[in-house]
């Protein structure tokens, strides 16, 4: 059975097993209809021109894991941040793992989507925010909405700074030969609130996994959210990440996406600026090799005056890897005095690597400052020779140059432990020991 049919058939069963009190029953129905009509995107859709989902559709993914699997802490210890204390929301095969997690309700709410759907004290938040930022028309987001059951639910109240960063980790245990999960995250920062989140998906075996995740972030007035996405999954993992961010006036939201692993990764990152004096920061580093494919589709929609956005994506593509960058900026007529910057720089290490880069600027206001720049090139051979002439071996020299290339994205990572962790991952990817600490 093709994946689409399987999903539609499973929805009927899923729906029957839902709580009668389920708060979004109608929404689920509407959403599955959207998926039914549109199906999986094909290469004929402009937004999916360079990223094919054909293989995924032919894989027989299990949609609900057979049994709850226990994962050994020792196995997964290395995926957590240890140098600092954090809150943790850990899911195994889409199911909450209480022994690996650390939730809280003291002053802030770091808990589960399933709890938020059921418990009356969260009803007003679900009513106010659920699915209000996500696209109702996008087929895969709608698919996620129809099946949404579990994920992270984070609420930081007015003028509260989250005392610890929050880790959201989704593990796939490999108990199924092929597994599809659809986490749904809701992250709300009320007026003046601040938080930092680190998100990652990790498969623990070589079994195929497909993750279709939707994350909605809401930054109320004067709030601040820093989100770090670490995408370093195994080579049998496919990820479709749909992140929607609704910002109100004076808020600052930054998203850093580090794409190093996975077979197929598609990042749909959408920012909606609904207010004045908003700052949106989108940064990414992609370092991939053989047969990997990473696609970044970003959207920043400037709707009101005096806002800014900064996009900086760096990509290094080795062997026969392929990459896509599509950066869309919309500046409404009302959005005067907008400052929007977009930069995409790429290095192709070998002839077989490919990158498709497309900046899209739609500007309807006339008193704005918008720029976009894109470069595609190779490592500077002269610079490499210079390093070699100073005794640095070629492999380390190349790594150093690539590191320098990605540096200004790494510089803006505010959490030192995350920076250190990313450094380590990059060093490992490039096969070197970085002989200095960054």
């Amino acid at each position: 059975m093709e994946l689409k049919e399987k999903l539609l058939a499973s929805f009927a069963v899923f729906e029957n097993n839902l709580d009668l009190e389920d708060p979004i029953l109608d929404l689920r129905n509407d959403s599955i209809k959207v998926f039914e009509n549109k199906g999986f995107p094909t290469k004929k859709d402009e937004a999916w021109k360079y990223t094919s989902l054909a293989k995924i559709q032919n894989t027989d993914y299990s949609l609900f894991p057979k049994e709850e699997d226990c994962v050994n802490y020792q196995e997964v210890k290395k995926y957590f941040l240890h140098e600092i204390e954090t809150y943790k929301l850990v899911f195994i095969d889409g199911v909450y793992s209480s022994f690996l997690s650390e939730t809280t309700h003291m002053g802030i709410d770091v808990c589960l989507m399933s709890a938020a759907f059921k418990k009356p004290q969260y009803k007003h938040l679900i009513d106010k925010y659920f699915n209000k930022a996500a696209s109702k028309e996008d087929s895969l987001s709608a698919l996620n909405t129809s099946f949404s059951k579990e994920g992270a639910f984070i609420y930081i109240p007015k003028n509260t700074v989250a005392d610890k960063p929050i880790e959201i980790i989704n593990f796939s245990s490999g108990v199924e030969a092929a597994l599809m999960i659809q986490p749904r995250n809701m992250i709300i920062a009320d007026q003046g609130a601040e938080m930092q989140i680190i998100e990652r998906h990790q498969s623990l075996t070589k079994n195929e996994t497909l993750t279709n995740v939707v994350s909605e972030l809401f930054a109320e007035q004067n709030a601040k959210i820093d989100l770090y996405k670490i995408q370093n999954d195994s080579l049998s993992a496919s990820l479709i990440d749909n992140t929607y961010i609704d910002q109100k006036r004076d808020s600052v939201v930054s998203v850093h996406t580090f794409s190093f692993g996975g077979k197929l990764t598609r990042n749909n990152l959408n920012f909606f600026q609904n207010g004045e004096n908003i700052n949106s920061i989108l940064k990414g580093v992609t370092i991939i090799g053989d047969k990997q494919h990473v696609d970044h589709h970003t959207l920043v929609h400037h709707r009101e005056p005096n806002c800014e956005s900064h996009q900086d994506y760096k990509g290094i593509y080795d062997q026969s890897s392929t990459g896509v960058f599509n950066g869309k900026i919309i500046v409404d007529k009302l959005a005067q005095k907008t400052n929007a910057f977009q930069q995409n720089n790429n290095i192709l290490m070998e002839d077989k690597a490919t990158i498709n880069s497309k900046p899209q600027l739609e500007i309807f206001a006339d008193d704005v400052k918008c720029s976009h720049g894109c470069t595609i090139g190779q490592l500077d051979e002269d610079a490499l020779f210079y390093l070699q002439s100073r005794g640095i071996p070629k492999k380390e020299g190349r790594a150093l140059l690539m590191y320098a290339f990605a540096n200004n994205v790494l510089e803006s990572v505010a959490l030192p432990v995350v920076k250190k962790r990313i450094n380590k991952i990059i060093a490992k990817k490039l096969g070197v020991e970085l002989g200095f600490s960054i």
Binding site: Q191, G192, E194, N222, K224, D250, V252, N277, I278, N279
Partner: protein
Amino acid sequence: MLKIENLHARVEDKEILKGINLEIKPGEVHAIMGPNGAGKSTLSSVIAGHEDFEVTDGSVFLDGENIDELDPEERAHKGIFLSFQYPVEIPGVSVTNFIKAAINANRKAKGLEDMPANEMLKLIKEKSSMLEIDRKFLSRSLNEGFSGGEKKRNEIFQMAMLEPKVAILDETDSGLDIDALRIVANGVNKLKSKDNAVLVITHYQRLLDYIVPDFVHVLYNGKIVKSGTKELALELEEKGYDWIKQEAAQ
């Protein structure tokens, strides 16, 4: 120190200020809050003398002198300082060069010579360390590529250098995270004295925990509709502006 009498002002054909009365005495901190569109930024622009705004009635007095006919730079020479909500970028002009030009322009207006270079340097060092601004920052082009927090810190740095009589802070806290907010508020508090006054325009009560006001006024529909102490700000934060709008309608 600053006295505003029955001030009416309009921009293009729209009347925004419809009779503002406010008196700020030396040593006082006043706060103005209000919903969007109430006229808060208009008020600060009018006091600073922006030519896009036409005063149709009433007057503004500084130390008893009517300043209605004075140009913005003349008002600055007399001691009015506006910390802008959206500080402008001036590429090619460094933070240092700009403040030097401002200080010397002010001295010239008082009949003084340019400040000697070593004195200027000392002053810059002193004020920049108070606001935790490092030397590299000083040679950057004014506001170009600055983060929100850096822009606002730079505004207060200029305030520290120019030592105005009346400082108007227009939404200095919007978009600042808690760490940046503390540095800015600290700076303002250090500059407060019995010989100057501060008018804080803010959207969020939180700033007033750090810069504690003697009086809080609510601006709605171009008029000050309510005045109180800092408790009023807390009440507004809790209840929003609807009750004010209802009261005003009655």
